[in-house]
Symmetry: C2
Subunit: 199 residues, 2 copies
């Protein structure tokens, strides 16, 4: 034991977070103890303590939200006729950063993954179907291009297609700015298979 | 604004910590909200909130401590006759990890650094001298091998030498396991200058 107990305790809490190893955790706690002013530390602790109470899930799309409806569902400027389906709230953040999409979202809160015991009944699929029944024009399936993401997209497409609604899947291919030399063969195969004619 | 306000607030707090960028901060907060159980979050928040009250500075060596005296000063098995002088509590942690030193420490809480307006009067030097007056055999100056660390070591050596006490400086040279090819020239010069005879 090279440190005071309360120091060790706080280091352990930081270590439990993703991407923070023992050394960074120690560096962070030294920073908090030696450099941060007590008011900021208290504010930080209060925000952290309340986060689980403050944040809820949007009643329409299941995104994280401070209110009954998230800021995207509450924004009536957005195209109400197109829903982009994602696995996690953090996928919404990624798509919003690209600023390309102006419709609404639907968060499944997971993917179909039999190995993890997660079937369609664990996902927010019923809620998606009920939104579709209220009238939309297109569903974009933006789950990850992984086995589970593809399986979930396929499952949903089969479910939604008979309803006569346009269903699309985000494109898979070479990332912009990447090099063929470094691309994995699954990505390359996909890029070849879904090639577009240019003229 | 792509997120709920409370989410953004907590991300900002994590971003203010050293080594955590915007993306890691977001990943951490998603982890806290989606994966951590509420009890652990509360414990984390409480430890964080209390850290500034719980931790104090050891009355003898100025190390971080839960009590009046840190666990090193309170350990009477350690050699009371040798004091290793460091700039920061985190330097103690680094030396303790090496398990090579069994004496006591003294934390200066900074270095002489005129550019930052930090003179000898800002450091715990008076306290060091009073410990020396109570009788020790050797002072090891373990400040960093930087301009400020070397200046502080030189200043202390000049102060302590007349008292007839052995003063030493940690060795500077090639790190163990490193390659000459990658060493900077200041380190190499130091390694040459302080070469030891082998037989």
């Amino acid at each position: 034991m090279n440190h005071a107990q309360s120091f060790v305790d706080l280091v352990k809490h930081f270590e439990s977070l993703p991407g923070i190893g023992p050394k960074s955790a120690q560096r962070i706690v030294f920073h908090i103890v030696m450099k941060m002013n007590p008011f900021d530390v208290t504010q930080f602790a209060n925000t952290l303590e309340k986060i689980k109470e403050t944040l809820q899930f949007c009643e329409q799309c299941n995104n994280l939200s401070d209110n009954r409806f998230c800021h995207i569902c509450a924004d009536h400027q957005r195209d109400q006729n197109i829903i982009c389906v994602v696995a996690d709230p953090k996928d919404i953040a990624a798509i919003e950063r690209s600023k390309i999409f102006k419709g609404l979202y639907h968060v499944l809160h997971g993917l179909i993954d039999p190995m993890q015991g997660s079937g369609p009944e664990n996902l927010k699929i019923k809620e998606l179907l009920s939104r579709i029944n209220q009238g939309v024009e297109e569903i974009i399936l933006a789950t990850n291009p992984t086995i589970e993401g593809d399986a979930t997209a396929l499952y949903l497409a089969k479910l939604i297609n008979p309803l006569g609604i346009k269903v699309s899947r985000i494109a898979h291919g070479m990332p912009i700015g990447s090099e063929l030399d470094y691309a994995d063969s699954a990505t390359l195969s996909s890029a070849m298979e879904y090639r577009r004619s240019l003229m």
